[in-house]
């Protein structure tokens, strides 16, 4: 059973890290999580990105958050990637596999996947 003692151990491990993490994010990833996004499959997209970012050691570099309706409901699930000094990248009609590629190639490799973007 995942016990509170285990949670306590996680706390002890993370306590020191927390301060270091603040304010050093290079990428801000935002997933649309309104009715339109959820119905189109945003939940697994979000969870895949969160998992991929953390499993590949990008947690210090990338923050992942949720937002409401982005206003492009027919293109949901939508993932926006913000990077300081660069134009926002909007990935549309996402799924888990595409999310994995975005984490690997864009967030880790620094290369925008043009074919998934709105302008493509």
């Amino acid at each position: 059973m995942k016990s509170l003692a285990e949670l306590q151990a996680i706390k002890d491990k993370m306590k020191n890290k927390v301060v270091l993490r603040e304010g050093i994010n290079e990428f801000r990833v935002v997933v649309g999580m309104a009715t339109c996004g959820i119905a189109a499959g945003a939940r697994p997209v979000l969870n895949t990105i969160v998992e991929a970012v953390n499993e590949s050691g990008l947690a210090d570099k990338v923050s992942v958050s949720q937002t409401g309706c982005i206003g492009l409901c027919q293109f949901e699930p939508i993932v926006e990637v913000f990077e300081p000094g660069k134009e926002k990248v909007t990935y549309v009609k996402m799924d888990s596999d595409k999310a994995k590629r975005v984490a690997e190639e864009h967030l880790k490799g620094g290369k925008v996947i043009a074919e998934y973007t709105l302008s493509f």
């Binding site: 059973m1 949670l7 996680i10 009715t35 969870n47 953390n54 949720q66």
Partner: protein, 182 residues
């Protein structure tokens, strides 16, 4: 929606947006019914807004507060022979006990019943996106119960955010283990 758990995610997002500090998500099952009750202590809705939330065509864009979420849930409940009830106390009239209760009743054996789906994923998604608000989740079926209270976890975590990846993973595993014996 493909799963009722997605409706739960969607409706609970409304609670968070209404400024709820605590949202209780309760699923209770009998042999032939499933009831979802989402209770929050957010700002609540005025009677005027409340009258329009289940009709997507009555509301206008500028005054829209809820959108398609409630009508979808209502449709999914009614197509099984069930129903949807909403009650709300707006902060302007109830400064001390405001909030909203959304209750949806489903008949599980009806052919048009939408399966509950991955509730665990819904709970972890909510906590990931809203680490500073509290969620109380309870799923009851006969004598069995699965539950999670972020207030209890917060106490143990002493300031470590609830959406820390390791914490989210712990929550996911904890709920999955509870469901193994459900």
């Amino acid at each position: 929606m493909k799963e009722l758990s997605l409706n739960i995610l969607d409706i609970t997002e409304n609670s968070v947006k209404a400024g709820a500090g605590l949202t209780e998500i309760k699923i209770s099952e009998t042999a032939d019914t499933l009831t979802i009750t989402i209770t929050d202590n957010g700002s609540g809705m005025t009677d005027e807004v409340l009258k329009t939330v289940d009709d997507p065509f009555y509301t206008t864009r500028t005054t829209r507060k809820v959108g398609m979420g409630i009508p979808l849930l209502k449709l999914e409940a009614e197509q099984t022979g069930g129903n949807l009830e909403i009650s709300s106390k707006h902060i302007s009239n109830f400064p001390d006990n405001h909030g909203t209760v959304v209750k949806a009743l489903f008949y599980k054996n009806h052919i048009d019943f939408t399966p509950l789906g991955d509730v665990v994923s819904t709970i972890t998604t909510l906590i990931q996106g809203h680490p500073d608000t509290d969620f109380l989740f309870i799923h009851i079926k006969e004598d069995n119960e699965v539950s999670l209270d972020t207030r209890e976890l917060r106490e143990v975590l002493e300031g470590v955010p609830l959406n820390t990846y390791e914490v989210i993973k712990w929550i996911e595993e904890n709920l999955k283990e509870q469901y193994e014996n459900f």
